[in-house]
């Protein structure tokens, strides 16, 4: 009667903690979106594997819950961290009327951290993490968060910068942030982190506009007013002087 909600990190097993690996290994059932289950395939051999298509998050949680109520130990795998736009919240919501089911959240490396590492050090100081997906949030609230984060001079990480239906959202986001951030602010983006086709680009904020390279598998980063490019890396100082 236990569900582990497991963040597997950005890609293959090299980015997954031993805690996450042990959680999957100790489970009889593995639940997840097909692509993520495939990333941990070698850990799922001999286990019952239940997956549902994209966007069927609630169904996936119900599958996990039913297996747990059937006295099985379940590993519910998510890409990145289970707690950052991940399945931890919805799983706790779906299981609300079953407090007898133990739910343990196992953290993983989220794209803010794995992407930042590839770009250099853009998040060394205060930052905001904002998703541009308006499937479950109003665009007005997203705009407000972008504007206030830019006014606060925080570095900003943009999850879900684009999709087929939302191809100009990152353009709109950059224009809003430009009320408070210079268009020449160092920026960057990372595609397919830790997977085939990984691509790392360092640029300025204005280069994020009309950029066909950015897609739904991209995470974008915008620095603060002190961010600089050092030897091709994006660096936000914490404030150390006299280096």
């Amino acid at each position: 009667m236990k569900i582990y909600v497991v963040g597997i990190g950005p890609g293959g097993l090299a980015f997954m903690t031993p805690q996450a690996k042990a959680a999957i290994e100790s489970s009889q059932v593995v639940v997840g979106y097909t692509v993520y289950v495939d990333l941990v395939k070698e850990l799922t051999l001999g286990k019952e594997v239940l997956s549902t298509p994209m966007k069927k998050e609630v169904d996936r949680c119900r599958l996990a819950l039913e297996s747990a109520l059937d006295n099985k130990t379940v590993a519910f795998v998510c890409s990145g961290d289970a707690g950052v736009y991940g399945m931890a919240g919805i799983m706790l919501q779906v299981a609300e009327n079953h407090p007898e089911v133990e739910i343990e959240i196992v953290p993983g490396i989220t794209a803010a951290c794995s992407g930042a590492a590839l770009l250099g050090a853009p998040l060394i100081h205060d930052f905001a993490v904002i998703s541009l997906s308006d499937l479950l949030t109003t665009w007005e609230l997203i705009e407000k968060r972008l504007r206030l984060s830019a006014e606060a001079d925080m570095s900003v990480v943009l999850y879900n910068p684009k999709s087929k239906k939302r191809c100009d959202y990152i353009d709109r986001a950059v224009k809003i942030m430009s009320e408070f951030k210079s268009m020449d602010t160092p920026a960057g983006y990372v595609k397919n982190i830790g997977r085939d086709g990984q691509k790392v680009v360092i640029c300025t904020m204005k280069d994020l506009i009309n950029n066909d390279d950015i897609d739904m598998f991209t995470t974008a980063f915008v620095g603060n007013s002190t961010t600089e490019i050092i030897n091709g890396k994006m660096v936000t100082p914490r404030g150390y002087k006299n280096v």
Copy 2:
């Protein structure tokens, strides 16, 4: 001539990725603050270990750089993630005039993610990460970021909520955020994540004030206006309806 800046995660080896472990194993020299080097002691056997006291960050980077220039491979270890208030930025700054030294940042699980997992799912939607340390930042800027993040109705993670000299900073932070967040907003804090003495507390924002339990080894979390407590866990919904 290579320096890995390695995020070792919150505590012991269970929270460190294979990528981080491999980076340390492939290095001849391990540099870091004594406490963090001790957390990975079993990986440092037979290696040259260089450590400096707390607050000597620039000195530590110079030690790492000197070893790299001496043609050694160096693992510079940090607690949590190397890129979130970590050493990645200062290392890139210190090595600015030595582009021949390759610097690879290896991400780890930061306290925002490891702490969130212990509390439930407070960071499922947009959030801000803010440090209350004013050693390297003005308090005015910290206040501004707190106020605007609260106005944006983001969940907020507070790093360095207190120190011996800054024992009322979290009280001041909560009061500022209360301009836009209800004092009854679900909140929580986690001490000594992944280490001896780990403690997890779920409460409301007002309970963070005058709280002697919160110290410099604590990370504090405040939800947004939709955050709720479900079966003793802090949950910020992403917006899924009809669960």
